[in-house]
Symmetry: C2
Subunit: 522 residues, 2 copies
């Protein structure tokens, strides 16, 4: 197969880069063989797995090696796609946007550099996964809890720079971090915040510093390579209560949002309230064929059976309460009282104390125990992949209903089951719609692609924008942020040209293209 | 007096700019008369009040006028210093760094654009002060609390973009905001986050969006003019308890920090714990001459008398507890139990419920009632000014003591009283040292200036950097962030050249100089 190449890069230059990289990182840690290239494919791409094929990879083992590698790439103008553990699944996995882009694989940089018990943070390298840090904390007796996202094999830094959110107390991975170390495209090392002082003692503690804050620039971006980051941890609470509110009626969504919002707003509930629909939870626990063998979305009468058998609600709200026993009990009592007005609800709580083993999947997530519990959803239809459509909206019942209705209608029209969950922060929610498809069914993948474009357009028409998206939709989503003739994208591109004049870091990421590509009409 | 001029700007060009501005904003809202120029002087500058004299001012009344004004300035290459209400006292007030820079005075843009009760935020213009918003909330019956800093006449946006912190629940003014609207140097309007979507419905709700986050860039910076911003508010709590822990012994500082940190870390206490020393509180309540007429810092025996008469501690910790009665009482009970191990302490609490009038100054601050209570400190020595030395450090007793001791020794050596307060967030504190001087005593001002330089240098040597500083020290502080040959400052300057190629926005702010100045050796 002929190797696809990024704009302006010859096969010879690419091979020369690989050759120079090998001298830095060792023979086995840089390659452009077909098998190595394809190992970075997005397993969930709804389409040809070669659509986003890498041109090869280089895997440095240290910050110094990263610096040497990016200097070579900058000199040769060979583009690279920084990647931590490659588990950005549903959004592109490990794969680069432009075929032939080299993957800068940071998995070998997997050291937990520091854990501080008093100040409750961990300073990590990009290759450290949630599993890794969890094991480290356990083995070293640290009584500190992480906030973990769905699957635990992802990178803490990767999830942070993609602005993911976890189920735990300090949910927002980026907002609850500090101490970013960045390698700029010319190989210069930048430390953000208080770390910008050579012997600074507060780098990992606070997103502060002097002058303009730059940390945000290195999230969802192609301005540099993040090589260190500190993540805030939560001291193990005296009591942790996992709470569930299952509402049997579809109409309960608005009431759940309206009733729980004040508790988010005054921080009675601190972690995200996740309101999942029946289909999403069913996909964690079962496969579709158990319930229904027909085509198209599962009919209402079957959903009723699923709901009955799995003892779930049409809407299922989960959250945690953390603290001392009195506070937790008092909080739950007040929430229960408020929720009592919602018809057809069932409430569950499970209480844990230090030393208790936590086995329930959702309870694990909220307590910072990483798992692959939610991973079952890809088997919903067998041989499955999924991409996630993830718009943000105001935390009101009216908005939740409006957006849900819009998306559900289209998802059903295209013949899919609608699996979704609202991740509710205080003032806004992120509605994650998991579009599951069969990877061996080309027409189904084609439908997913079409559907996704429709969803972007129609959600944007109502004022809802995606917070994160799959490689294939980065341009569309960036363009949907259309205020003042895409002023934001134009500004981000101005920054791109200044920070990365040779356009070597992740061309096209978040819709941001180097000048050379823009001149070709991108 | 001959008008001082910024680099490369002739008096004729400046006058031409003023002339063009008048056509935009009206005759009376742009001027370069001496009296108008001097009205923006920093009243607290420890030195010649003309040191940072403006070249004139222009005061637009709308975003469109701001756009027209910055386009003219950009074309004529006339620099301007954006200013909201000009109350950045102790850090330069309304004055520009480079003499002859025009002040872009945003005070006429003073509309509260929106208050949302359900989603608890206010969208404001730069001229809206804490007093203004407070009045607006009261008059319109909104049960929402602000987080206010010391003096209430400052701008909400100004305090936000300077990354100030308030005493209330959502303490960090920038972290708890969203919906920034920015006018770039070329007059383009940029809306950050979800506001980057033309009809977006979540702009004021969350610092998210697509691609690199840029909000942080417009804090403490000279990259643009912030013309709108939403500030999160806190729903009026059922119970608010103001708590004080006064520790009579100087040795109590470490224990206070160590004992209260876990309560900050698990968010039992959510607003900043402010640990003020005796002298600082005394300066709010009295004048120095009541206690001591001698030269130099007040001796220990007099401090003992002050402490006795004002019934204060050497260290005085204040914070608030917010929520329902049970939670507040339980929290205070647990804190009291923990604090019991600290010798020589006295505890006070004051409880308020909705409708109660709050009169105590500190209690007002924590409840979002703006005031000028703390303003008395400038009279500590009569005819006073002050500048604040504001380093950040790790929230440990050891660090608090080390930094306090260093600064106190130098402040005393230079003959001043040491007034200071630790503003404790969870993992870091900001130690605000208020250096009060007599504005009619040149030698005293000279000493303050010398002292300030010494403090920057010696604090940096131990790893402590300032989060914010006075005009006169922006270069020194920026240079103290010295990792990798000032990589951060160099990066900030790269951005400056890209965003503001003509170097018209606030030259020198935060140590960031336009290229033309750098070529002259800045």
């Amino acid at each position: 197969m002929k190797l696809p190449l990024p704009l302006g890069v010859s096969e010879r230059t690419l091979e020369r880069a690989i050759g120079e990289f090998k001298k830095i990182v060792g023979e086995q840690w840089a390659s452009s063989t077909q098998v190595d290239r394809e190992s970075y494919n997005d397993a969930y791409n709804p389409g040809d797995p070669l659509e986003f094929v890498a041109g090869g990879f280089v895997a440095p083992a240290s910050v110094e090696e990263v610096q040497a590698v990016v200097k070579i790439a900058n000199r040769l103008r060979v583009p690279y796609w920084p990647m931590s553990t490659g588990k950005n699944l549903a959004y592109g996995g490990a794969a680069p946007l432009v075929p032939g882009t080299l993957v800068l694989d940071l998995k070998r940089m997997n050291q937990v550099l520091e854990v501080n018990d008093d100040l409750a943070y961990a300073l990590v390298e990009p290759g450290v996964s949630f599993f890794d840090l969890f094991r480290y904390l356990k083995e070293n007796g640290h009584k500190l809890w992480m906030s973990v996202p769905g699957p635990g094999w992802g990178s803490i830094i990767g999830n942070g720079v993609e602005r993911g959110i976890g189920y735990g107390y300090f949910d927002d991975q980026f907002a609850n971090s500090a101490g970013m170390e960045i390698i700029l495209p010319d190989g210069e090392m930048l430390r953000a915040g208080m770390g910008a002082m050579a012997n600074g003692n507060s780098g990992s503690l606070i997103q502060a510093g002097f002058g303009p804050l730059v940390e945000g620039l290195f999230t969802q971006s192609n301005y540099g390579v993040v090589t260190k980051m500190a993540r805030y941890l939560y001291p193990e609470p005296q009591t942790y209560m996992s709470c569930e509110i299952n509402c049997r009626s579809d109409a309960g969504l608005e009431m759940l949002v309206e009733t729980l919002r004040p508790f988010k707003m005054d921080e009675t509930i601190r972690n995200p309230v996740v309101i999942s629909n029946l289909e999403l939870i069913a996909s964690f626990l079962s496969v579709r064929s158990q319930w229904y063998q027909g085509d198209g979305p599962m009919p209402e009468d079957r959903l009723a059976i699923v709901q009955e058998k799995l003892a779930l609600g049409r809407w299922n709200a989960s959250f945690g309460l953390f603290g001392n026993e009195e506070k937790v009990n008092d909080s739950w009592a007040r929430i229960k009282q408020a929720v009592a007005v919602i018809k057809d609800t069932e409430l569950h709580e499970r209480v844990y104390h230090p030393g208790d083993e936590i086995l329930h999947p959702r309870d694990q997530s909220q307590a910072g125990v990483p798992s692959l519990n939610e991973f079952g959803l890809v088997n919903w239809m067998g041989s499955g992949g999924h991409i996630d459509f993830s718009p943000v909206g105001p935390m009101t019942g009216k908005n939740a209903r409006e957006l849900y209705r819009l998306i559900r209608r289209r998802v059903h029209e295209y013949g899919f089951d609608h699996l979704c969950g609202f991740y509710c922060q205080s003032r806004a929610f992120r509605l994650i719609n998991t579009l599951v498809f069969r990877k061996d069914d080309k027409s189904e993948m084609k439908k997913v692609r079409e559907l996704f474009s429709v969803l972007i357009r129609e959600s944007a028409a109502l004022g809802y924008g995606e917070y994160r998206t799959h490689l294939a939709y980065m341009d569309s989503v960036a363009r949907s942020y259309d205020f003042n003739n895409n002023a934001m994208l134009r500004f981000q591109q101005t920054l791109k040209d200044a920070i990365d004049p040779n356009g070597v870091v992740a061309p096209g990421k978040s819709g941001i293209w180097p000048r050379s590509y823009r001149e070709q009409g991108k």
